[in-house]
Homo-oligomer: 193 residues x 2
């Protein structure tokens, strides 16, 4: 006897895979629910039953990709906060500088501006966990006396991520590994005990 | 005899005034070239002769508002770089937190993502001069030995502006005067000689 919940899960995965393939092939702007449905072999109504919009499907596709590798989220703790932070900041810069990944992130950022409910979904499910993972590593360094304890870890994270984000979104200058290290070094100096 | 260049200048100002009034009244998204033309008492073709898009008209309206008060751009130099920077960062936070101004800035940021030529126009004419004004003040403090000299002033600016911008665009937490001061204090610590 076929198991309907397993069939649902299979369709859900097929839809997310199709969405991520298509976003790479045609870009977010040209992506349509119709094309996702056709590629996944499901009806449009199946997609609309589970997701309110194209943006929500792509967000779930991004989340599925991130969650395949949960180590993407929690930072290593080698005991050397400078090295650990430098590593994650370089990884973020590489991701932002990847034209394929970056196009999707840009598109989701634009959607957030137009759709407050979607913005809340992105903050809760993608952005919040990513920022908290870095904040947790900085808090551990505060508790170990390696960073001053009187800075809110969430603010400390913004000090590192904000400059990258500003340069990336406004394209004011190139995002390079050198720039990643410069920003990390400045933030660590601000946070030094 | 009527002076055609003076008449042109009068139409240009009427168009920019109408655009800024309408953007406040109906918001950027609902703003149309038709409505701007009607309010300014000109034909649509007059607008399209001078501007390629609604975004370009609004950018010129914002620039006209900024340039009415050129002191908005260059920072005061009281000799106390901490006080001068704190003042400009508080002003930026107040502007970003103003729902009316902020809506237009958000809309222009979104347009920049979709239109590389427009993005270049914003960087050259609005964003670049604003960032350089802060960089110039920080460079003067470097030359006076008040800040370490081995940080590119443009990077130093991103260290202050980036966190505000990230919090503002992604709405991760409230933008308050306290937050402005916290970020200024952290950046100054990173830049201390």
């Amino acid at each position: 006897m076929p198991d309907p919940s397993r069939r649902s899960e299979r369709s859900r995965r097929a839809i997310l895979t199709a969405a991520m393939e298509l976003v790479r092939e045609v870009g977010y702007r040209k992506l349509t629910i119709e094309a996702i449905a056709a590629r996944a072999g499901v009806g449009k109504q199946t997609i609309y039953r589970w997701w309110p919009s194209k943006a929500a499907v792509v967000l779930d596709g991004v989340l599925a990709a991130v969650n395949e590798d949960p180590h993407d989220l929690s930072l290593p703790d080698t005991g050397d906060v400078a090295a650990d932070l430098r590593g994650v900041v370089r990884a973020i810069v590489a991701e932002l500088d990847d034209p394929e990944l970056s196009g999707t992130t840009r598109a989701l950022t634009v959607e957030m501006q137009d759709d407050p409910e979607f913005a809340e979904m992105v903050r809760e499910r993608l952005l919040g966990p990513q920022l908290r993972a870095i904040a947790d590593r900085l808090r551990a360094a505060q508790e170990a006396g390696q960073l001053r304890a009187d800075v809110d870890p969430a603010v400390a994270v913004e000090l590192v991520i904000g400059p990258l984000y500003h340069r990336w979104l406004l394209r004011t200058a190139p995002l390079t590994p050198d720039y990643a290290d410069t920003v990390t070094g400045l933030a660590l100096r601000a946070l030094a005990p």
